[in-house]
């Protein structure tokens, strides 16, 4: 949805004017950041104080305009190691105080240059806290960013924002997932093979598996059950990804196929919602979602609390306090967010399958939940034994 022209660099006061328009009519003015032009998407805010590079390149942010609550963005520039995918996915970027120079021993260029090079339209100098509070109170909504010398009039801008598609009902994974299958080799001795269905997978996820001796076969979102089993997997993984899980009929049916064969299964984020739907639970859109790297999640099996990375606008509607009967046996909610009691994980009691709504691969974010990859390994070991 992004149209752009190359913008000028962000020297003081040289940046062109820019306006952010929300679908309910509230507007914020600021300065152009990154590419100049116009862009549309769903306005969401992310509260992480570090990790903008990972956020920008997370495919789950496809079609979203991300508001950073941390005021200083770009301080450490851009390096070639930290991106979570091959490109920036956010539809637009809203910051308060962009860095004028990057400072980090790994930095190879500035964030401003990167945004411009990838044609990402952003806006700076916005009261991001006011915007965040607005989204918190009114919920995530469509937004447009317009920058440049000749901005359309307010009515035109608002009309354009209101013409943009909504996130509810959007089927997006196929747009962000790999078109071709590829293999991430195990680091060290290979112990397992995993088929990972890419619904918008982040680079760190197969890496975390590879670290544990897993050879990861990343398959396109369109992969069938047959494609999955063609790699003779010890386990199957369903990744994170953008869009409304209610539209994900294909992945849900593949997931059911895997569940039917009782192959060890692990899902993250979108993968958790797919598991939920495969088990017969509903999914719903949260008012403003969880996006940040400080969310307290309790593992109900151990009582321990982990600080976790989140990026989800939808959630699974499963009962918290009882075991549910599903077509694949008993299931229960394994993890819950302590801030708002949102379901953050599911597991089957009668067969080796579990998923979490948050990001144990943690890029960006704390590594507290890395044990879940070990849990997946144990399931695969258990299946072998």
């Amino acid at each position: 949805m992004t149209t752009s022209t190359r913008g000028s660099s962000s020297q003081r006061n040289k940046a062109l004017p820019a306006v952010l328009v929300l679908e309910d009519g509230r507007t914020f003015s600021g300065r152009a950041y990154g590419a100049v032009g116009e862009t549309f998407g769903e306005a969401v805010f992310s509260t992480g104080m570090t990790g903008y590079q990972e956020t920008l390149t997370d495919p789950s942010y496809h079609r979203q305009v991300v508001v950073m609550t941390a005021p200083h963005i770009g301080n450490t520039g851009v390096n070639d190691e930290d991106p979570e995918s091959q490109r920036i996915w956010v539809a637009g970027y809203v910051v308060r105080d962009p860095a004028r120079i990057p400072s980090n021993w790994r930095s190879v260029r500035s964030l401003d240059e990167e945004l411009t090079a990838q044609g990402v339209v952003g806006i700076s100098g916005v009261d991001t806290r006011a915007l965040t509070r607005h989204l918190r109170e009114r919920g995530a909504m469509r937004v447009g960013i317009f920058s440049g010398d000749a901005l359309p009039d307010a009515g035109t801008m608002l009309a354009k924002v209101r013409q943009a598609p909504e996130m509810k009902g959007a089927d997006l994974s196929a747009q962000v997932a790999t078109k071709e299958a590829y293999v991430v080799p195990a680091i060290g001795e290979k112990k397992f093979t995993v088929a990972a269905v890419d619904l918008g997978i982040k680079g760190m996820t197969p890496h975390r598996m590879a670290e544990r001796g897993i050879e990861v076969h990343v398959l396109p979102a369109t992969a069938t059950v047959e494609d999955v089993y063609a790699v003779d997997p010890d386990g199957v993984f369903f990744s994170n990804g953008p869009g409304d899980p209610a539209t994900a009929d294909h992945p849900v049916s593949v997931m059911r196929g895997v569940l039917a064969r009782k192959t060890p299964l692990f899902g993250i984020c979108f993968g958790n919602q797919i598991l939920g739907r495969a088990l017969g639970f509903g999914t719903y859109k949260l008012k403003y979602g969880h996006r940040g790297i400080n969310q307290p999640v309790q593992d109900r099996t151990t009582g321990k609390v982990e600080v976790t990375a989140h990026n989800h606008g939808f959630a699974v509607d499963a009962p918290l306090d009882k075991v549910s009967d599903t077509p694949f046996g008993h299931a229960e909610v394994s993890h819950v967010c302590l801030n708002d009691n949102v379901v953050e994980g599911l597991h089957l009691l009668d067969q080796p399958a579990f998923s979490v709504q948050y990001h144990p691969e943690a890029a960006a974010g704390p590594h507290d939940a890395a044990y879940l990859f070990d849990r997946f390994v144990s399931l695969m070991e258990g299946q072998r034994a």
Binding site: R12, N13, F28, F45, T47, G48, M49, T50, G51, Q53, E54, T69, A70, P71, H72, N75, T76, N79, E81, D82, R96, D97, A99, R100, I101, P102, S103, N104, W105, R106, D127, T128, R129, A130, T132, R133, R136, G292, I293, N294, Q295, P296, Q298, G303, K304, V305, V307, L338, N339, D340, A362, A363, A364, G365, P366, H367
Partner: protein, 1102 residues
């Protein structure tokens, strides 16, 4: 799993007097902890010798022992109270060391007291360098990250010298084990420096242990604040990045939260290491901080140290994030887990999360080198700052500039007017970290330095350097703008420029800039500190200003009282004023007002969001206060602003606020001015028929000489318009006067010099009183132990007065009333009197809360500051008596005969400072205040109370051993009786020849020792200084004549400080000490809680 049920009572150890490295932050954390424990239904027993704390208010704990924090006294308290548990992690290094001593002595086991919040093994692992290195090594093995700087542990000077070889040469860092605030540590660039620093370090360390370390100067420095609960849940509350790279103690660095120049990967490595360290050390529950150095070239991470307790940084982190670490640590210690504790600010979410900030916090240290002109002002790994200011902004420049103006020190704000100076010279100067280096850097930038040049000189991260360039570019734009339009003003404000700075750049008056700005509608908004970057709604109105779009101040209905705090701690204006502000808030809240606190000192109780209904964490400048008043006036009715409780800072704003139409409650600005202005005050005294010492104002050297001769020597000289006795000296003759004026060359050209008669041998008396316009309530009368001429803040004093009779009190009462009435006081007044011969002179009057208010309140069990706040808003003393806030009858001048005696003793920071040659600074007391804190000793008789005050301040007085006596001629007569007493108590006296002769003539035997100037004797007889260094002297009495390094006394006194030998510098202190020694030798020095004292006092009053 909720609270433990097997603990019914807890002993909390406070941190004692305010010293450099251990300050008001422990009052904040201790107060929080005590309140939490009490609300959990536990009996809280507190020991803290510092009367100026909220923590030692009788309502905070169930039994409050204002007793020395020594293993001996704490054991007495344990024996009496038999607590189930001891919480040692909230009172700094003092509490931790005391707890370890009690453990090692078997006391805890003997009385069955469980250590909670930390175990001994964990404390040792965190504090012992060797053990901590093993911890870091173990962590590295587990997670593959983190290492220690290469280092060598040394227990002797031989070890030290060999250690340098092992590390590959100089420079090396020296760190003594188990000292607080990095005391005794430093960089050694050669053997001389090494011998000096390591020598002192070995002495200071209770385990005679120092660590030599590879130099990591110039690396990036970070700190993480972590919390762990008993279920092993760990959260990182805050990351802090030091603006000043490695080499400057973090307490002396400008620090920034959150970290600004780490990618997520690098940050998560620090987080992983931090969590692994807290687990490996085995901190059961509670907070700890961990410091890291990161190599800017390649990201190599070195774990510097950890504190397994609440610290100065955790207070800062709490204020920076809204996550109250001490409060939560206390809950964790009694068995809760993080997920069971609600986040106060959101109320809906739990404490088991990591705060995220949508603002930037900057802390800047405040130094007091002007008080110690001989001290070397270079910043090192030994902390030297006496206070700090914190500011919050929506970006770094805004927060930084607000923090710099919060320091409230001339020249602390960036100066863009005038010539910057020579670039090369400025860059050279910036290489050495000192107070105000950031201003030097800014001048270098103005002088044309490039970012690379600045980085090369300072190693300040290029991102921070660029932010300084940004500020400078804005200043250029302000200067270059055709007119002050809305856009340039908005930009300037967005980057933190004050109206005063803009005015200076534009050559305008500050109020003109403000008028233009207001006319253009450029005003700040107030945002909330909410722990979660607005993800959840905040219930706690904890605000900071920013020039942004949307304000979050909610309307209110109740009338608000705005209380102005005292800003950063400094010598002369410390925690005592915070105490009064907090009391005002409590009292007014109870009286039905909505209380609004304004302050910028992160160490304090006043800046706890729990203290007042609303908190504005803002600089205390006219501009910032006017904007707050404006915002609050928009929000609802404002009853007034209280300026008289926060010390000189708010008092200085009073008139300007009033001129801007702000209602000032209590004593009017005109009355304040009347007391401060000498001529006008003189007329008040004349009208009341009260004598003041003769004085004159000199505008030239000749005039000064003439006035001094007329008044008669000795005279007290000082520049006019000074605070805290700055630059004040007593001169005994004309040559000394000449020397004073030469030393302060140029002074007399700019400001007149005040010359007062100095009342030699006078007794100084301090009075705190309340006045409501009709009735006087004499709060307390304090008799100074030291003679007049020693700053009242540095002098020990006793309450009730020990040598004044009923007639004297009557005269004091009448004079106080006359002055309070003449000045027009509505609230508190503090008056200093001097009794010379039989004449009662008035030295000065301050129509505000004084430094002694908390001491007086505790000694008499009457909350004076609360009463003052109420009087400010119209209550009368009669009403307050009827209400029970003040006693029904009588006052502090009519204490019953058997009332306890309280002694206040000042604590001096001598051991912190060195001159450029690395020698100690002189320790002589004078008219310029230099103490950082105080302790209180309370007992039924003076001797015991004095002995307790000494034990609390410096360590116990010796009860036997060798005492060295050397006094100035004028003191020789008054020395004889106390010297005789010392001998009677079994002391061996050592004296220099002159003093020994006087003693012998009076039949007192004294061994003659060699003066330092005489050098070692032919048969190796040691000089007195050598004897002190050899640990062969237990008590030193040395009264000076004049000051300065040229005198023998200087070496003696600095040696005493280095070896921590009690050193009395006045004969009055000697006389008091002798009474104390006698009391201790009599035995059975008991302990009694303030609540017991109060009960006793109340019973006696009725």
């Amino acid at each position: 799993m909720p609270k433990r049920t097997d603990i019914q009572s807890v002993l909390v150890i406070g941190s004692g007097p305010i010293v450099i490295g251990q300050a008001a932050e422990f009052d904040y954390s201790g107060t929080q902890a005590c309140r939490v424990l009490k609300s959990e239904g536990l009996r809280v027993i507190l020991v803290n010798s510092n009367p100026a704390t909220i923590m030692t208010d009788p309502e905070i704990a169930d039994a409050t022992y204002v007793e020395p924090i020594t293993p001996e006294f704490v054991e007495k308290i344990i024996a009496k109270e038999r607590p189930d548990a001891l919480l040692p992690t909230l009172g700094g290094q003092t509490a931790l060391n005391t707890a370890i001593s009690l453990h090692e002595a078997g006391t805890l086991e003997k009385y069955g007291v469980e250590l909670i919040g930390a175990n001994v093994e964990a404390i040792n692992k965190g504090e012992d360098r060797d053990l901590f290195k093993e911890v870091v090594e173990a962590v590295r093995r587990k997670i593959g990250h983190g290492e220690s700087a290469r280092s060598v542990i040394c227990h002797s000077m031989d070890d030290v010298l060999a250690g340098v070889e092992e590390l590959g040469g100089y420079p090396v860092v020296v760190r003594p084990s188990f000292t607080m605030g990095g005391a005794g540590s430093g960089f050694a660039h050669d053997e001389d420096e090494l011998r000096r620093i390591a020598g002192q370090g070995l002495t200071l360390s209770p385990t005679t242990e120092v660590l030599l370390e590879e130099s990591i100067l110039g690396w990036k420095e970070y700190e993480l604040e972590l919390m762990r609960d008993k279920n092993d849940n760990v959260v990182v509350v805050c990351s802090i990045e030091n603006f000043d790279p490695m080499g400057v103690h973090t307490g002396d660095s400008i620090t920034v939260a959150p970290s600004m120049t780490l990618t997520d990967r690098e940050y998560q490595i620090l987080r992983d290491i931090g969590i692994a360290v807290i687990r490996e050390v085995g901190v059961d529950t509670g907070g700890c901080n961990i410091q890291f150095a990161v190599n800017p070239e390649d990201g190599r991470v070195i774990v510097i140290e950890m504190n397994p307790r609440v610290s100065r940084s955790s207070a800062l982190a709490s204020k920076a994030t809204g996550f109250p670490i001490a409060k939560i640590a206390a809950r964790l210690a009694v068995g809760y887990t993080l997920d069971e504790i609600p986040n106060d600010i959101t109320e809906q979410t739990p404490a088991s999360f990591e705060p995220t900030l949508d603002y930037v916090v900057v802390k800047v240290p405040r130094f007091a080198f002007e008080k110690f002109p001989a001290a070397d002002a270079t910043l090192t790994t030994t902390m030297k700052s006496v206070g700090e200011a914190m500011a919050i902004g929506r970006n770094f420049p805004e927060a930084l500039q607000k923090a710099l103006r919060s320091l409230e020190k001339k020249g602390s704000q960036f100066d863009f007017a005038g010539e910057p100076g020579d670039k090369a010279a400025l860059l050279e100067k910036a290489k050495v970290p000192t107070d105000g280096r950031i201003n030097t850097v800014m001048q270098a930038i103005r002088a044309g330095a490039t970012p690379e040049e600045v980085f090369d000189a300072t190693k300040i991260d290029p991102w921070f350097v660029d932010q300084l360039f940004l500020v400078k570019e804005i200043a250029d734009e302000i200067a270059g703008a055709e007119k002050l339009g809305p856009e340039i003003l908005a930009d300037a404000k967005r980057y933190g420029f004050s109206d005063a700075q803009i005015a200076a750049v534009r050559g305008l008056r500050e109020d003109v800039v403000r008028e233009v700005r207001h006319a253009l509608g450029v005003r700040p908004v107030y945002k909330t500190v909410d722990t979660c970057a607005a993800e959840f709604a905040a219930k706690t109105p904890y605000f900071y200003s920013s020039y942004d779009e949307e304000s979050e101040v909610a309307p209110r209905e109740k009338p608000a009282v705005i209380i102005l705090g005292s800003g950063p701690n400094r010598i002369g204006q410390g925690i005592e004023f915070d105490y009064s502000c907090v009391h005002a808030s409590f009292a007014l809240s109870e009286a039905g007002y909505e209380t609004v606190m304004v302050n910028c000192n992160p160490e304090t109780v006043s800046t706890d969001y729990d203290t007042s209904d609303r908190l504005y964490f803002e600089p205390l400048t006219l501009e910032d206060v006017l904007e707050i008043v404006h915002a609050e006036t928009q929000a609802g009715p404002v009853a007034g602003v209280i300026v008289q409780l926060g010390g000189q800072t708010p008092l200085g704003l009073a008139q300007a606020l009033k001129d801007n139409g702000v209602p000032i409650v209590g004593t009017s600005p005109e009355a304040i001015d009347l007391a401060e202005e000498r001529g006008a005050f003189g007329r008040v005294l004349t009208e009341a028929g009260l004598p003041a010492p003769k004085y004159g104002t000199a505008f030239s050297f000749d005039e000064a000489k003439r006035i001094a001769t007329e008044i008669g020597y000795p005279v007290m000289v000082r520049p006019s318009y000074v605070l805290g006795g700055r630059g004040m000296e007593i001169v005994y003759d004309e040559p000394s006067l000449g020397e004073y004026l030469t030393r302060h060359a140029g002074l007399i050209d700019r400001h007149p010099v005040l010359i007062d008669r100095f009342l030699d041998d006078a007794i100084e008396i301090d009075v705190d009183a309340l006045y409501d316009g009709h009735e006087l309530y004499l709060g307390g009368v304090m008799e100074h132990i030291e003679e007049a001429g020693i700053h009242s803040g540095d002098s020990a004093c006793a309450l009730p007065p020990i040598t004044l009779g009923g007639f004297d009190i009557k005269r004091l009462r009448a004079s106080t009333e006359a002055i309070a009435k003449g000045v027009g006081v509505r609230g508190l007044i503090n008056i200093q009197f001097a009794m010379a011969g039989d004449i009662l002179y008035v030295l000065e009057a301050n129509p505000r809360a004084s430094r002694t208010v908390p001491f007086t309140s505790k000694a008499t069990a009457v909350p004076l500051a609360k009463a003052a706040a109420r009087i400010s808003l119209g209550a009368t003393i009669a009403e307050l008596r009827a209400e029970g806030l003040l006693p029904k009858t009588g006052d502090g001048g009519t204490l019953p005969l058997d009332a306890p005696i309280s002694v206040k003793e000042a604590v001096m920071p001598w051991s912190r400072f060195r001159d450029v040659h690395g020698r100690g600074v002189d320790t002589v007391l004078g008219p310029e205040m230099r103490s950082t804190g105080e302790v209180m000793g309370i007992d039924s008789v003076f001797g015991t109370a004095y002995a307790k005050s000494q034990a609390g301040a410096y360590g116990a007085l010796p009860t036997k051993g060798r005492a060295f006596v050397s006094v100035a001629n004028r003191d020789k007569r008054s020395m004889i009786f106390p010297a005789r007493e010392l001998v009677a108590h079994g002391f061996e006296l050592l004296a220099t020849s002159g003093t020994a002769e006087v003693l012998r003539r009076n039949g007192i035997n004294a061994t003659v020792v060699r003066k330092q100037s005489e050098g070692e004797g032919p048969n190796g007889e040691k000089t007195i200084v050598q004897l002190i260094h050899a640990g062969e002297v237990d008590l030193i009495v040395n009264t000076p004549y004049g000051t300065g390094g040229r005198l023998d006394g200087y070496d003696i006194r600095t040696a005493a400080v280095a070896r921590s030998v009690p050193c009395l510098t006045t004969v009055q202190a000697l006389a008091a000490a002798v009474q104390g020694i006698e009391a201790m030798n009599r035995g059975d020095v008991g302990v009694r809680s303030l609540q017991e004292h109060a009960e006793h006092l109340t019973a006696a009053r009725d």
